[in-house]
């Protein structure tokens, strides 16, 4: 395998490891990776792309709902429950944690708490999205490891 490609793969592995070490991703992401193979080579990225799309919708709806006075805590909780579910399905660990905090404030009917934690949710989501986009872009550039290793 070309030296450059080897370096890229090492870099990608390091980035991947840090995503887990820093708590951005959990075991569920590994489960998704295990479902990826030659017949479904882009499975993880496809699922994550679905997540971005769903998240945009959830976050928009939550934003709108948080503008209303008084707050409809039941609707907020329901929306956040769904968003938390999506986050959990891709292994978005930090996002999931912030969602839980938001729901706690919902249950306590705490308006300020909800507004504050929603900002944290958005921040964690945006951070994760940036990191994952960079990670997948690098992976695509490096190409599949098997092809790179196979002698021509």
């Amino acid at each position: 395998m070309e030296r450059n490609q080897m370096q890229m793969h090492r870099q990608i592995a390091t980035i991947r490891k840090s995503l887990f070490d820093q708590g951005y991703l959990d075991e569920q992401f590994v489960q998704l990776e295990e479902l990826q193979d030659n017949s479904n080579p882009n499975f993880v990225e496809e699922v994550v792309t679905l997540f971005y799309r769903d998240s945009a919708r959830f976050l928009y709806n939550l934003d709108q709902a948080l503008e209303k006075r008084p707050l409809d805590f039941s609707r907020l909780d329901s929306l956040m429950h769904q968003f938390k579910g999506s986050s959990s399905s891709i292994g978005a660990k930090k996002v999931k944690i912030e969602c839980t905090h938001f729901r706690d404030y919902c249950n306590a009917r705490n308006t300020e708490g909800c507004k504050r934690t929603f900002q944290h949710v958005k921040k964690e989501y945006t951070t994760l999205k940036k990191k994952l986009e960079a990670y997948f872009q690098m992976s695509r550039q490096a190409g599949p490891i098997e092809t790179a290793c196979r002698p021509r």
Partner: protein, 195 residues
């Protein structure tokens, strides 16, 4: 592929074909993941996004003169608990109250670990309650338990048919299966082999 193969006279084992799962979830991410989990585990999969669509599908299946030889026969239903409209719990109840559908095992999937909820689902006849996100190990475990009960059912049907064949007049034909060659006189005794 892990299946139970039968060497037997009149029955094409429906479980030497793939087990067919109907998965129900309103989340498109979860639908994609459960579909993949099931396919990787060698299930045939149909995915729908609501309880009402699930019932539609199961109703259609009934209209198609389903029998144990029908390719579309659903062997397992896996449903999300929290769905808008009909919840997974409501779907479970409808299935267990249906004379035609109640034998199909139903598994509930939920992100929430609420004991009272788990209890009510099991009381209503759910086969299992899986915490989301569902893992490969959950699906494998499920497959083993479904294969066991399907195997038991096949043995029961098989012994019933053998009895009927022994009792019947030569002119009546009970067997509908056309894909299995007619039994030879020296048919080995039916046995179950787990691969």
């Amino acid at each position: 592929m892990e299946t139970i193969n039968l060497c037997c006279d009149h029955i094409t084992s429906p479980i030497s074909k793939e087990l067919h799962v109907l998965a129900v979830d309103d989340s498109n991410i979860d639908r994609k993941v459960i579909e993949r989990l099931l396919k990787v585990s060698s299930f045939k999969v149909t995915v729908v996004d609501s309880g009402s669509r699930a019932l539609q599908y199961l109703g259609l299946e009934e209209d198609n003169n389903s029998s144990q030889f029908d390719d579309l026969k659903v062997n397992l239903i896996m449903t999300d608990y929290s769905m808008p409209g009909m919840t997974g719990f409501e779907l479970l109840k409808k299935i267990k109250n249906s004379s035609t559908l109640k034998e199909i095992p139903v598994v509930i999937m939920s992100s929430e670990n609420i004991l009272t909820r788990i209890d009510s689902c099991l009381e209503e006849g759910a086969e299992d309650y899986l915490l989301k996100p569902v893992k490969l190990s959950d699906v494998r475990r499920l497959k083993d338990s479904i294969l066991k009960s399907e195997g038991a059912e096949i043995r029961r049907i098989q012994s019933h048919k053998r009895k009927r064949n022994n009792d019947r007049l030569p002119s009546s034909v009970a067997c509908h299966d056309l894909s299995v060659p007619p039994p030879s006189p020296q048919q080995p005794t039916p046995k179950l082999a787990r691969l």
